[in-house]
Structure formats: structure tokens, C-alpha cells
Amino acid sequence: MKKIFSIGLALLLVNWCLGQDKGNLLIKNGTVLTVTKGTLTETDVLVKDGKIAQIGKNIAAPQGVRVIDATGLFVMPGIIDAHSHIAIDGINEATSPVTAEVFEGDVVNPLQIGIYHALGGGVTAVHAMHGSANAIGGQCETLKLRYGTFDGDAMKMEGAPRTIKFALGENPTRVHGGGSGIVPRTRMGVEFVIRQSFSNAKKYMEDWDAYNKNKLVKGFRGAPPAYNLRLETLAEILKGNIIIHCHSYRADEIFMLLNVCKDFGIKRVVFQHVNEGFKVAPELAAYGAMASVFSDWWAYKFEVYYSTAYNAAILTRNGVVTSINSDDAEMMRHLYHEAGKTQKYGNLSDDEALALITINPAKQLGIDARTGSLEAGKDADIAIFKNHPLSIYGVPQFTVVDGIVRFDRAADPADMRLMVDPKQNLDDVTFHDKNVDHCMEGTEFLFSDLFQADKK
């Protein structure tokens, strides 16, 4: 049963070993913002085989290793976006309220120019998520922005824990209750759908355990239970092998999911957007649940009307591991600026603000042992800024992934497409959908009437 996935993973590792580049690099004389170990001035960072080998003063450059002079520049951990929809083909399997079996890792698209754009904003890793159309959506994939490869598998962050998207509130009720006339149409329905799914998964697990046990008995000739990839995946959540990342806004629904998790013994849960997380911050902290929020987005729908830009600060002050995410290809390019807003709205310290886009999202994705801060032994995922990254004048100059410079502001050409559409119309212009909930991409067919009105 697990075979499919273990085969998949093994293969992934093989690909990694075969296909991945890891670089060597010396970053000289920068102001190093380690995030976890303070700020070090006039300090060097040595990278060997894609890992940070040493952080210190006056490190001699090994022969043949590229040296970046960071005098006057700021060196910080590569930014991690815990909520993104770039580099994947397809966001919502919006046909059913529960689609745990679908997997964004199957549809990674390393060719999207948005990946390069994100590197231009100092981002080195993203959580490529399923959308929020379903109460239980699809599994997500943690990617490193190794722009330049044609191989989707090479983008995947090897060893990152499995994650899955859940969604509460307006989106799933609008899609399934409103769009198709099936449960859930209300927040009560959303809770029911999730509880029912976990209950079914529990039964499924028991059936298979019984079958597998019986099979060991000599002469056993019973029929196997039907294989169900959806329940299979849900069972993995119950076993603690998949982290829930739950799209949510209102305090009541956040509290609801905490209770569901408690009842089913699920410990690892991260709330996404969670605009009213500040209202239940003590409960989140007590459970050990984490929060990944917008810096200041509000008013785009009713359930975010009672938002405050102080959300991240309140959560942080209440002891909730908090990150700031983008959910948007443009905002992703200036998450450092979004983090800076917590200094305006709540007076967070530099390290607290930087943690929101580095070590904290790393914790939420379960990759904090590997990334999220500048420490010897960690992956060399690094962003180098002119001016302090929390300053409005901060401009990323280099972005390094696994020790490879993937973005070089001074040296990169304007046109960074990996593939050019041979039928490209040179006059074609497409505008970015500003301030639109990308979580709902792919659900248009359910709302052909609604969406047209909305887009006006």
C-alpha cells in the first residue's frame, strides 16, 4: 500500500542524486543576518557542496571558488513562502469536497517564469499548494527554486515532509454547497465533511490492517478491501505522516478544526491566512498549532472584513509560530517588505520580523533543520540584499539555492524564459490579476455566471 509512495520517493532521491547541482561559494564581508544566531557584521559565509560550511571572519577563498563581495550588503537566509501556487499546473481539483489523493508534486512545472520572478525577491523555497475549493484539498509540494531545470522532480525539496491543504469557510461552502448543491453549504457542513472523512479513513485503515494480518495466516483466501487512494492519504494524516495546512479565516472555524484534530489525535496543523487567528491566539499557542498569515490583506471578501494588520504581531506575542506568506506571484517577490510591515503594525524586532519569512515558515513545512537560518551545516539557501531587507529600499542582488547563484541582479539578461512558445504572438500582453484569491483558480466552471460578474 505504501509501496507506491515509497517507490516514488526512492525514485525522487535517485533523480536528486543524478540531476542536482550543488555549488561552492564564498560570500565575503557582508552583514550576516543569521535570524537564529544574531547579526554578524563584516562576516564571511563559506558554501561547500550546497551547504553552509562555515560562517566567520576572514575566511580564505578555496581555490576556484566564486567569491561574492558583500561589503555593504546584507546576507540573509533565503526567503521561504509557506503559501504559494507557483510552479504547478493546476491548483484546484474542485469537483469534490474531499480530494486528498491528488498531489501537486505530480504537476510541478519548473518552466514558469514566476519562479525566476520569485528568486528576484530573494525567495529560495516555496510551498506549492493545492487551492482552497475543497474542505480537504490535495497534497502540496515543498519546492526549492532551482530555476533552470526542465525536470519537475529536480525542483522538489528532497526529504521535505508531506503536507496537505484543507480549507474552511466561504470557499468550500461556495464551491460545493453553492456551486453543486451538496454538503458542505455551511461551516457546520465543513466540519461534518472533515470528521466523516477521518472516520472513514480510520475504518479503512482497520480493514486493511485486518486483511494484512489475516494474509499472514497460512491458507487465508479472503478478498482484499478495495484500494482507495483518498482514504489511504487521509490515513497517513491520522498516522501523523502528513502536516495539515488549513486555509481558514474566522476564529470559530479555526477553533473547530483544532477540536477535530484533538479528537482524531492529529498534532501537526498549520493554519493558512487565518485572518482572525489573533482572536484565538491563546488557543492556537496552547495546541501548538502554527499560523501563516498575510501581512495586511483584508476586505476582499466578507470573512476577512474583521481583519487587522496587527495579526502577525498579536500571534507572535502570544507565542504562536507565525509566518507571512504571499499566496500571490507578485507579493511573493517582496515578502521581506511584507515582514517589515509587522514593525509598523506591532513593533516586532528585526529578528522577529525576519523569522516570519525564514525560520518560521521552515518550521511550518518541517524543513527547519535544513533551511530558514544561516547556520553551518544548513543548506546554502541565501539572499543577498543591498540595504537592509526590512527597509523599503532593500533590493535583492543575489539569490543562492544550494550554493548555486540562481539570480544575479547585475548579470542576468532581461528575458529569462527557459522555453519560448514557438507560436508566440509578440504583441500579446497579460495583466496580473491583482488582489484576487488565487486559491480559487480552477473553480470557474462552477460559477460561470458569478465569475463573469466578479471579473468586471
Binding site: 453553492g178 456551486g179 474583521y306 487587522t308 523599503i392 504583441d427 500582453v429 495583466f431
Partner: protein, 437 residues
């Protein structure tokens, strides 16, 4: 689904009504004589005054300078270590016309019809919109509130973000909005073929020309009959001041091809007060725009490039490149769907980080829009005799962490609270916490 919409709509409306009623009760503004002392004063038009005083009385700036006598009874506000700036003007908002982005029942900026210039934004501005205090306590004191929609969606109005009626808020400018025929795609969902797109643009341009021909005809008849026998044509009446060169035409246009077409059209039709808005690809045709001498309201700045082969920071660099070409540039936020007009200084700040001169960027959100809107006698700089519409902050207003300490609009000292700060106050240390004691 229809039912669901109705029901949801009903509850939303009901809820909103109750909520607005309750929450519109911000602390009141205060009017009187104020002396902002020991301040650094960025006048914008007359350099920087250090350790100076700004005297506010009767809604106006009474004095600005280093050695100002403070009249008796004036409320002295010590601004040591702080800086006074003229209020920021966001030329791209729908403030007061929208409450919740996804809820059509709270949206009053998009009337039905492609020829409705007679729809006046000022009529529908809700002075108690929750976003107004949220915006003004970040130092944005003045906003252009624009209808959006098809070709001629209505007439935009400049409003100050304080007052209880639209008249009290009106800041002295109205302009007719024209969405110029657009060859760009509107987003990922726009899957029209190249031919369909081309045809749609051609049809729209044809229609625009027809409309304009009629407006000119209407002007002729109206002039010949001294306004008596031209008949009741409200949309033509709304266009009349534009035809006569008395009112600005705000031309929303973004692709380079369309910008050139718009420049040609403006020239042909001899539009007297044109303003280009949006101009996302203005950098591509900056020389031509400069030659036309038409001012530009650029933004949003925080955008991804319009074409996948463009340099990654092209949108950030656009205002700077336009300015460099000699164009008069204002910057707008256009963060309409999430009502985040408070981010206006960050749009300007990004333009600076990616190449624009800092002083020019500051002008682009103060005096330049005031000039474009013809209200530079009242707004846009700290000068004696101008409206006391300004703010006080503890640093560079573009810097993210800078705190806005004081805001004055038309001489009213604005309470520094909004629903967002109130929620902060209530929930930072929630009581009761996890257990209800």
C-alpha cells in the same frame, strides 16, 4: 444557487448594516488652532525646514518656518524628532465605493452600461466606510475615488478622508473616466484568441469614436442654443465639460500599443485636459508620452511584468523611467480589491528602490497629483494659505517601519484609530485567555 446567493446576500447586507452602524463611531476629529513645534518640515515645494513650526488654524496652514510665534490658545504638539509632510494623495482608489471585494452588494463603482459618464462617484461615496480611517491614519489624506467598468464608467471625484457628507469630503476635482480600448488580456482567465481580441478592440475604438462624434455634436447644438434646446442626454451632458476643455479626461490605458493609440486619439480629438492612468507599459513608449506632454498617473507599481520576457523588475522601474523621460508622473496604489490604499507610500518606495529619485517619488504622491487635479493651491505641499492637510511621522514615510503620529485633514486633527487598531488593542492580550477564569 440563486437562492443561496439571495440568502447569503440578505445576511451579508443585514450584518453589514448593523456593523457599520456600530463601528462608524470612531473618536471624533478635533478642530482648532494647532502648533506643530520642533519639527522637521518637508514642504515639498520650498525645501526642508528643520526645527520649525507649522501653525494650523481655521483649517488652513497659517505659518510655516523656524521662528513662528505661537498664538494664545493654540494646542502645541511637540514634534521633536518627527517630520511633517503634506498629506499623501492616492490617485487610484475606490474608497467609499466598495466595502467588501467579493460582495456585489457592497460595490458601488461599477454601474451597468458602457456609456455612463453621468454616474458620479461623489454621490455614492460612503463617508463611514471602514477603509477610510484605516487609510488616513497611514498618512493618506486624500484619494481619487474612481468608478470602474466599461468604456465610460463614470466621473471620479477627489475626496479628503474626513467628513460626514460627500460635500464635506469633496476636495475640488472631478474627472471623467475613459477605459481606452484595451488589447491586453485581463488575466489568466482571459482566453480570447488573438483575432477575437483584435476584433473586440477595433469594435470598441469604433464605438468610442462614435460616442465622441456625438459629444462634439451635442456641444455644437448646446452652444448654438445657449443650452436650451440640446435635449436631455445625460451621458452627453457629462461629457460636455470634457469636450469644452473644462474637465479632465482620465484615460486608463496600459499596453504600449494602446498608449500610442490613446495618444493619437487624444491628439485627433483635441482633448484639452487628458491624463493617462495605469500606463503599465509606459516605459516602452516613454519618449512618445513625453512628447505629448500629457501627465501620467502610474500604478499599481507592485506588479509582475506584463510580458513574460520583460525584465523581472520592469513594473517597479516604470515610474522612474517615465520620470527620466521627462513625463509628469503621479503614483497610485490601485489596491482596490483589498482596500489597501495605506500601501501607497510603499508603491512610491519601491519605485525609489528600483531607480526613481526619492524626491520625485515623494512629489508623485503629493504635489504632482495636486497639480494634475488642479488643486495645488490647496493640497500637495506645506505652504502658508494651503489647506492644513498633512501628517507627522517618525521617519521617512516610505520606510516600512515608520509610524504615523498625527494626521490633519482640512485642519481637523484626526483620531489615530481604526477598526484594525481597535482589534489590536482588544486582542493583543485577550481576556479571558484560554481558560475563562
Amino acid at each position: 444557487m440563486k437562492n443561496f446567493q439571495l440568502v447569503a446576500g440578505f445576511f451579508t447586507a443585514l450584518f453589514c448594516a448593523v456593523v457599520f452602524h456600530l463601528e462608524a463611531q470612531n473618536a471624533k476629529g478635533k478642530y482648532g488652532t494647532f502648533a506643530l513645534t520642533n519639527a522637521t518640515i518637508e514642504t515639498i515645494t520650498n525645501g526642508t525646514v528643520s526645527n520649525g513650526t507649522v501653525l494650523i488654524s481655521n483649517g488652513k496652514i497659517l505659518a510655516v518656518g523656524a521662528n513662528i510665534a505661537i498664538p494664545q490658545g493654540a494646542e502645541v504638539i511637540d514634534c521633536k524628532g518627527l517630520t511633517v509632510y503634506p498629506g499623501m494623495i492616492d490617485s487610484g482608489t475606490n474608497l467609499g465605493l466598495s466595502e467588501i471585494g467579493s460582495d456585489p452588494r457592497t460595490q458601488d463603482f461599477n454601474e451597468v452600461g458602457d456609456l455612463v459618464p453621468q454616474m458620479k462617484a461623489l454621490t455614492a461615496v460612503n463617508p463611514n466606510a471602514v477603509a477610510i480611517p484605516v487609510t488616513r491614519i497611514s498618512g493618506i489624506t486624500t484619494a481619487l475615488s474612481s468608478p470602474r467598468g466599461d468604456m465610460f464608467p463614470g466621473t471620479a471625484a477627489l475626496i479628503n478622508l474626513h467628513g460626514y457628507t460627500p460635500e464635506q469630503m469633496f476636495a475640488g476635482f472631478e474627472g471623467v473616466v475613459l477605459n481606452f480600448p484595451n488589447t491586453g488580456r485581463r488575466g489568466f482567465f482571459d482566453r480570447r484568441t488573438d483575432e477575437e481580441l483584435k476584433k473586440a478592440t477595433e469594435t470598441a475604438l469604433k464605438k468610442l469614436n462614435e460616442v465622441w462624434e456625438r459629444a462634439v455634436q451635442y456641444h455644437k447644438v448646446d452652444s448654438a442654443t445657449q443650452g436650451k434646446n440640446a435635449g436631455y442626454y445625460p451621458e452627453m451632458q457629462a461629457l460636455l465639460p470634457v469636450v469644452r476643455g473644462q474637465r479632465a479626461l482620465l484615460v486608463e490605458v496600459n499596453t504600449s500599443k494602446d498608449i500610442l493609440a490613446a495618444l493619437k486619439w487624444i491628439k485627433e480629438k483635441k482633448i484639452a485636459k487628458p491624463v493617462l492612468t495605469g500606463v503599465a507599459e509606459g516605459w516602452r513608449v516613454a519618449d512618445q508620452i513625453a512628447k505629448s506632454k500629457i501627465p501620467v498617473i502610474a500604478g499599481s507599481v507592485l506588479e509582475i511584468p506584463t510580458r513574460d520576457y520583460d525584465r523581472y523588475d520592469q513594473a517597479y522601474a516604470n515610474p522612474g523611467l517615465l520620470k527620466k523621460a521627462g513625463i509628469k508622473v503621479a503614483i497610485r496604489s490601485e489596491e482596490t480589491n483589498n482596500q489597501n490604499f495605506r500601501n501607497l507610500p510603499y508603491h512610491a518606495g519601491f519605485a525609489v528602490a528600483y531607480g526613481m529619485d526619492r524626491r520625485e517619488a515623494l512629489r508623485a504622491i503629493t504635489i504632482v497629483p495636486a497639480e494634475i487635479f488642479g488643486v495645488a493651491d490647496k493640497l500637495g505641499s506645506i505652504e502658508v494659505g494651503k489647506s492644513a492637510t498633512l501628517f507627522v511621522c517618525d521617519g521617512d514615510p516610505f520606510e516600512t517601519k515608520t509610524q504615523i503620529k498625527q494626521v490633519f485633514i482640512d485642519g481637523w486633527q484626526i483620531p489615530m484609530s481604526s477598526r484594525q487598531t481597535q482589534l489590536y488593542d482588544e486582542f493583543l492580550k485577550r481576556d479571558p485567555g484560554v481558560s475563562k477564569k
